[in-house]
Each structure stands twice: as structure tokens, then as C-alpha cells.
Amino acid sequence: MALPTLMISSARTRCARLLAVRGVRPDVCEDAYDGGRRCERRWFRHTSMSLIVGGLIVALFLFTAVAAPVVTSFAPDQVRAGPRLAPPSQTHPFGTDTLGRDMFSRVLFGAAIAVRAAVVGMGIAALLGIPPGLLAGYRGGWLDRLLSRLIDVWLAFPGLLLALVVVARLGPTLTNAIIAVGLLGAPGFYRLARGLALSARRMAYVEAATAVGCSEGRVLVRHILPNLTSSLVVFATMRAGTAILAVGGLSFVGLGAQPPSPEWGALLAAGRSHMDTAPWLAVYPGLSMTFTVVGLNLLGDGLRDLWNDISCPQKRYD
């Protein structure tokens, strides 16, 4: 660890000296250096951390979702598992709710629903967005223009408004909220896939594949798509947090999961009216949600920088 620090400081002094010769003030030299290379280095150190921390949080989240039935000693909807509105204790680490249900098991089982929201929601978005995006970017021309206009219309429903329309049409249930969130995420995948396919089209490996006689479908699925996987995975990881937040938000206002579902947004909505006397009802579900979304964002950041670094190794020598 000592050597790189030494190298940084010596490079820094060299830079300052060079600039000072040209008559630039020392503090400006420092700033110029900060704005440039040293910052990149720090970023790299930073991102390895975000990869590890994010990965650990997401692993914990996935483990919780799978192991909830084993880890908890009460069923999530078992009424009178303890006294009503009991504060956090050893038997009930997150307290109990108005019906005496154990909040710890409810929050843990809520993780399984959040995983479903993230995986199914992003799956729908990816399935709806990626194939047309690839095709539009690869083919270009009228198909690209037509699909892109369609996406503009899609995006003209601001925020969660599109989800509102979908839920109004299909009815307020958890499944419909997840479908709505999937529809909401599709334009993002479309734009990303289109942009990536557009730049891949001119790459040598695509030309080579076309030259040896691969069909369009084969070029797209066997050659272009595998090369875009890392970008798409990063994007999906970052958007998974948004999906969890959106499903939670819809459930919170009553347009998603309905009671007695332990969905985190629904838990918050139920805890809302007892905030004064039993704040733990609102604190733990919100905390779990924030923690999970921070983890997903960190993991996405970390993966992006990891893959960027691998694809341009010269960055490591600066």
C-alpha cells in the first residue's frame, strides 16, 4: 500500500513543479491534479469498496428472502404471536403489530416479495425492451424511427403515471403492480439496447460474422447480445432498486399488495397510523427497503467500474 501512495505524491509534486515553471499558482496545480488523475485513482479504490459492500448487502437480501421460513420462529401472518404493539425485544426483534404479528418475520418475508418485484419486474422490462431495442439499433431506418417514436409516447406518461393507468385498468393487486413496474422499465432497456446495438453494428466482429454468412438473427443473438451482457446486467441491477421502490410505493397508496401481505410498502402503510405510539412498525420495513436499494445501487456501480476497468486495462497503470 505504501508504494502507490508514494508514487501518487511524487507524481503530484512533479505535476506541481511543471505547472509552477509555467507560472501557475501552487493551489491551482493541486486542483488541476485533483480534477485529473488522482481523482480517477480514488474512484477505483472507491468502487472496489462499493462492489464488496453492495455485493454483501445484496447477498444478505437474497439469503433473507430464501431463508425467511427457517430463520424466523413465527409465521408472518400468525396473529397473537406476541402481545399487541409490543416494542422490539429478544423474542420479537422488530416488535409486533396491532394484531400481535411478529414484525421480524413479516419484514423478512417481505424480502421475498421484494426479490419477486425486482426479478419479475426487470424480467418483463428486459423482455419488452431489449429485443426491439437490438433490432432498432442494428437495422436502423424506418423501423428504428417507428419504434423510437413509440417509446416517446410510452415515456410521455411522467413518473409512475403509466403504472397508475395499468393498475386502474387491471385492478390493484401485487401482480398487477409488478406488471406495471415492468412496463415502466421497458423504455430504459430499449434505449440502452438500441444504443449498444447501434455502436456494435460497426464493430469488426459483427462485420466478420456477417461476412461468413450468419443470418441477422444469429448475429444479434449469438454475437451482439453476449457482448452487451455486462452493460445490461449493470443496468438491470441499478434498476432493480427502482422496481422495488415503485412496487412499494404503489402498495403504500393501496394500489399494489393488499393486507395481510407483508410487502414492505404495505407494511409501512399499515404502520403509518400508529407512528406516534409504535414507531417500530414504520421504521424497520423502511430501513430494510433503503438498505436493499443502497446495496443494489452500490453493486451496480461496482460492477460497472469493474467491467470498465477490465475492458480498458491501460487505466490500471496510471
Binding site: 480534477g35 481523482c39 406518461f157 403515471l161 397508475l164 393501496g254 409501512l268 403509518r272 407512528m275 414504520a282
Partner: protein, 308 residues
């Protein structure tokens, strides 16, 4: 001028498509207006009569045509199935609240995020930078319906400084505006930081330093001016989003905006009101987008030319 006209025309086309989709999705739902109006006890003949009265027996596209004609010629968005009042009245009643909240939130987010991002960029690599960025990471991830509840818990229930719900005065605006501003401020701070860091490394900033300008003048006159152009677009987009998507925060704080009207209408199966609220929100969103694009072209003359 040509650029503005073209953008306006394409916005109008998008709006037309949006209204068609929203109408087909909401105007022809299975539990139609006649069933909702007549109640469960109505006979099949009564239902058929009512359907004919409301024009529900016609093909969806024909009904859309009639709807559009009414909208363009008479500003008629239909009537609420619950209170019978014209939808346009209901929507216009709620609109000032939504616009006020969105403007307050975006102004707050711009101030908070701009300040945080600028400080983080100018002191990049220091503890201050790390703290601002950690705060931003948290701000992006925290659900508004949780931060809103926590703010109520702290400022309304414990400290008793601010009212919990309602919309009777400026004091009622503070908590919902702060709640809505937090995620936007976090996004703005990140964007300002990276934008400024990019600009700080450019040749013209070094030249500005080299010709002897004070650091303050370099930052204000050169760095901020160019580094903030993308931020104005994002703020505009956020404003548009908040105009339609703030229903969660409106629900928490009992703020009588457009979003809450739409959510309540969904529970009441009052499709005309949902449709009206959605259309007005989408219109405002497109309008704000158009203004942002025009402003962007004005701030950075390269943009307008490229787009054509």
C-alpha cells in the same frame, strides 16, 4: 424558430397518441361506467338504455373521436361518475396545488443539490466530498413514503413544529416539498459533481487560471456556466415528473393535488376522472419538456442545430 416549431408539432403528435392509449385503456374498462352508475340492482334493459345514453354501445374508436371532438371544441373531459361534476373543473381545482408543490420541490432540490455537488467537486477527494456523495447515495435510495413518514414523526409528532397533513398555508407545504426534493437533490448533486469535475479538467479552465483570474471568478464565470447546462435539463425533466408522479407524497401528506385525485378515482372506479388527470399530467409533462428543450438550445447553441 424552425427547431421550436418542429419540437412543438412532434409534442402535439405524442400527446394525441397518449390520449388515444389512455382513452382505450381507461375509457373501455370491463366494469364500465353504466354498471357503476346503475348499481347492482339494474336490469339488463336498463343497463342497455344507460349504455346508449352514455354512448358506450359505440365502437371504442368512434367514442374516442367524440371524446376528442368534445375536448378540442368545448374543453369537455366528461363528468365524474361519483359526484357528477365536470372532470375539467375537478382537475383545474387541483392543478395549482400540484404545480405549487412541484415548483417548491424542484427549487429546493436545485439549491440543495447544486450547493452539495459544487462543494463536493471543488473539494473532490476530501472528507466533505465523501460525505456529500454518501448522502446522495442514501437520498437516491430512500423511498419517499418512508422519508415522509420519518419527517412527520420528527417535525410534526415529536417537535410539533409543522402540521401533519392538509394544505392551509405555506407551513403545510414544507414537509411534502422537502420529501419530494430529497431524491432529486441527491441526483442533482451527483450530476453537478461529475459535470464540474469534467469541466475542471478542461484546457479553457486551465487557461482561465493561467491568465490570473481569481479562483472564484473561474468557478462562477467559467466552470459553473458550462458545467450546469445538463443540470437544467434534468431539473426540467424532474419538474415534469413531479407534476404527474407525486401521488405517493400527496397521499402521505393529504395534499390535494392531481395525483391524489387520480388515486382516489381509481378506488372509486371513476374512469373519466382518472383519464382527465392522466391527460392533464401528460400534457404538462410534454409542455415542460418542450420548454426545457428550447431553453437547452438557447443555453447551448450546439444542441438545436444537432437536433435538426
Amino acid at each position: 424558430m424552425i427547431y421550436v416549431a418542429r419540437r412543438a408539432a412532434s409534442s402535439l403528435l405524442v400527446l394525441l397518441a397518449v390520449s388515444l392509449i389512455a382513452f382505450l385503456a381507461l375509457g373501455s374498462a370491463p366494469g364500465d361506467a353504466a354498471t357503476a352508475l346503475a348499481g347492482d340492482s339494474a336490469s339488463a334493459a336498463q343497463l342497455a338504455d344507460l349504455r346508449a345514453d352514455l354512448g358506450l354501445d359505440r365502437a371504442p374508436l368512434a367514442r374516442y373521436g367524440a371524446f376528442l371532438e368534445g375536448l378540442v371544441t368545448r374543453w369537455d373531459l366528461g363528468s365524474s361518475l361519483v359526484g357528477g361534476r365536470p372532470v375539467i373543473e375537478l382537475v383545474l381545482e387541483r392543478l395549482p396545488y400540484t404545480i405549487g408543490l412541484a415548483l417548491a420541490a424542484v427549487t429546493l432540490a436545485a439549491a440543495l443539490g447544486g450547493l452539495g455537488g459544487t462543494l463536493a467537486a471543488l473539494r473532490s477527494g476530501t472528507l466533505l466530498d465523501t460525505m456529500v456523495m454518501a448522502g446522495a447515495a442514501l437520498g437516491v435510495a430512500i423511498p419517499t413514503f418512508w422519508s415522509g413518514l420519518l419527517l412527520i414523526l420528527l417535525f410534526s409528532l415529536h417537535l410539533r413544529w409543522l402540521p401533519v397533513t392538509g394544505a392551509d398555508g405555506p407551513a403545510h407545504l414544507i414537509l411534502p416539498a422537502v420529501t419530494l426534493a430529497l431524491p432529486t437533490a441527491a441526483a442533482v448533486a451527483r450530476l453537478v459533481r461529475s459535470g464540474l469535475l469534467d469541466v475542471l479538467g478542461t484546457d479553457y479552465v486551465r487557461t482561465a487560471h493561467a491568465k490570473g483570474l481569481t479562483p472564484h471568478r473561474v468557478v462562477v464565470g467559467h466552470v459553473l456556466r458550462n458545467g450546469l447546462v445538463p443540470v437544467t435539463s434534468v431539473l426540467g425533466l424532474q419538474l415534469g415528473h413531479l407534476l404527474g408522479g407525486a401521488f405517493i407524497v400527496e397521499t402521505i401528506f393529504g395534499w390535494p393535488g392531481l395525483g391524489r385525485l387520480a388515486v382516489q378515482a381509481i378506488f372509486d372506479r371513476d374512469e373519466p376522472v382518472v383519464l382527465g388527470a392522466v391527460l392533464v399530467a401528460a400534457t404538462m409533462y410534454l409542455l415542460v419538456n418542450l420548454l426545457v428543450d428550447v431553453a437547452h438550445g438557447w443555453l447551448d447553441p450546439r444542441v438545436g442545430r444537432e437536433a435538426i
